[in-house]
Amino acid sequence: MPAAPPAKGARKAPRFIAGPLWLTVPALVLLVAVVGYPLLIIVLRSFSEPAWGVQNYVWFFGTPVNLVVLQRTFEVSAWVTLACVISAYPYAYMMTVVGPAMRMLLILCVLVPFWVSGVVRTMAWVILLQDSGVINSLLKWAGLGTVRLIRTQLGVVIGMTQVLLPFMILPLYSVMRGIDLRLVQAARSLGARPSRAFLQVYLPLSLPGVYAGAIIVFILALGFYITPALLGGPRSVLLSTLMQNQVLSLLNWGRGGAMGVVLLVATFVLLALAAPLMRQRHKQGARR
């Protein structure tokens, strides 16, 4: 008997949801036409230029430098993701525990970079990281010598982490906001010292946010262009730069397209691997 009313409501619900389906049309058009169509063209051209066949893919996998760059792209993305997780986690946590005024400030700090163009932010990093830049001046002043940062992989990772950090913080925050901190208190009363209460209760409950943020950051990092192009050097070229080179400088749409497709497929494979992990967490994290 108590189950009857909700069941009735659930049967009614779809009628209300089905109505405004057409409201999704603008977004659908943008997604399909603006992303889907060019994507299709790129895939087609990768198989058809200069002639029909898989010669572009044979070239890609047959040229060692391409594979090195592909591997490096995944490596750099992984480092960036790791750096983002480590720096975003405490930040997002603090956002959930501070007062409203402080929270506003913290949210603002996350959002401000969104309002400043990526190019400007990357230029800022050039100023900070270059050999005679702020960081090296400080290091020299402290008597620690200088480090090469600009045009190195480390510089690229630092710059990309800063640019992509908001994409990690926001999903993390939205998950952490939903975690009942009283659960940690409950764990403490059951005998868990603070570190165990965190590791066994808080951390597992925050993982969906970590996964969501990590996937977004990782995928964005794989295709990131401006920051690696400006901060990187010849030894830290990423796939996006290589692609740009093929398409815009060499006008070789076939090879550029093939690179894009390889990146896309690799991303999908990764997503497919991560999916079961996410789904499992979802089931366990279902609301009370």
Binding site: A186, A187, R188, L205, Q284, A286
Partner: protein, 373 residues
Amino acid sequence: MKSTLATAAAKGAAIDIVSAIKRYGAFTALDDVSLHIEPGEFMTLLGPSGSGKTTTLNVVAGFTEITSGELTVGGTSMVGVPAHKRNIGVVFQHYALFPHMNVGRNVAYPLTLRGVGRAERERRVARALDMVKMADFAHRYPSELSGGQQQRVALARAIVFDPPILLMDEPLGALDKKLREWLQLEIKRIHRELGTTFVYVTHDQEEALVLSDRIAVFNHGRIEQIGTGRQLYDEPATLFVGKFIGDSTVLRGEARVSGEETAITIAGETVTTRRRIADGARPVMLLRPEKLSLARPGAGAGGRNRLSGEIAEAIYLGSGSKYEVRLRDGSTAIVRSPLEAESFAIGDAVSLCFAERDAKLLADDDQADLILT
């Protein structure tokens, strides 16, 4: 009163709170609270919202430190001891089950923390789940349980490590009446079986009466009175306690002392008492509904205190009747009369009668210390 003590006194621990004060900035949440709880006792903290019940519980659990005062459990000072070292079970109003662990792992958690071996752990989890009648649900996740089931699991988790003290903060607050009443009996049974000291928070006086050996009535961060349900009902120490526990009629009057007797004028009529009160004081008189009776004006026994009024509401209850009587000064008296008593209709003029010993004279809330005896 404490029949459980004889069987399992060894398992429960005594709690002593001495002159505890808790301040949040300028606000005083606990104002000189002292409370002694016997080993194995079922003590209920009763009081309105914001009166400091949860704060007291949190102090015992170790979630909050008192600003000053002393707290001992089983004779050992707990001041400064972190929550996870206190070995005290806590059941929260919001269940606080870990959503990422199934019922079995939730209940096993405190045992895992204590390094209890697998076989022993499984045995104790099974026993605890048995005790709350949730043995068949070990593989469910909290999100797949009803509120009452979740609370029973939370209870199992709080007792599985045999803590000498169990704290419960409005554990049944979110459940419907039927379920609440059934779980009250379950909690009482578990208390009897375990012999653990229970400290239970509620703002429902009926629940407090059903469950407790003794009740501490909180108001504004202070304890107004500690006693058994009967003591609180029959001998309320303050007007607040009198009004909070059970139904009551509160009459306000002015005292005039003449020799042995004190006359109290209520709405132009006078009742007498032998209790000594300061001349000119304005005490309140508290009367329980079953101690009041009604009579036609002029009829009935003399020598008793009477006040005139008019029936404002008459409700037939099956086992008797309940009347609301409007007195001359506009105050309302509640009367419960037995089935065999004469019945009255709305609008009838009546005399409200009561024996002197049934009238509790108390200081009005805003003027303490006026009553001498």
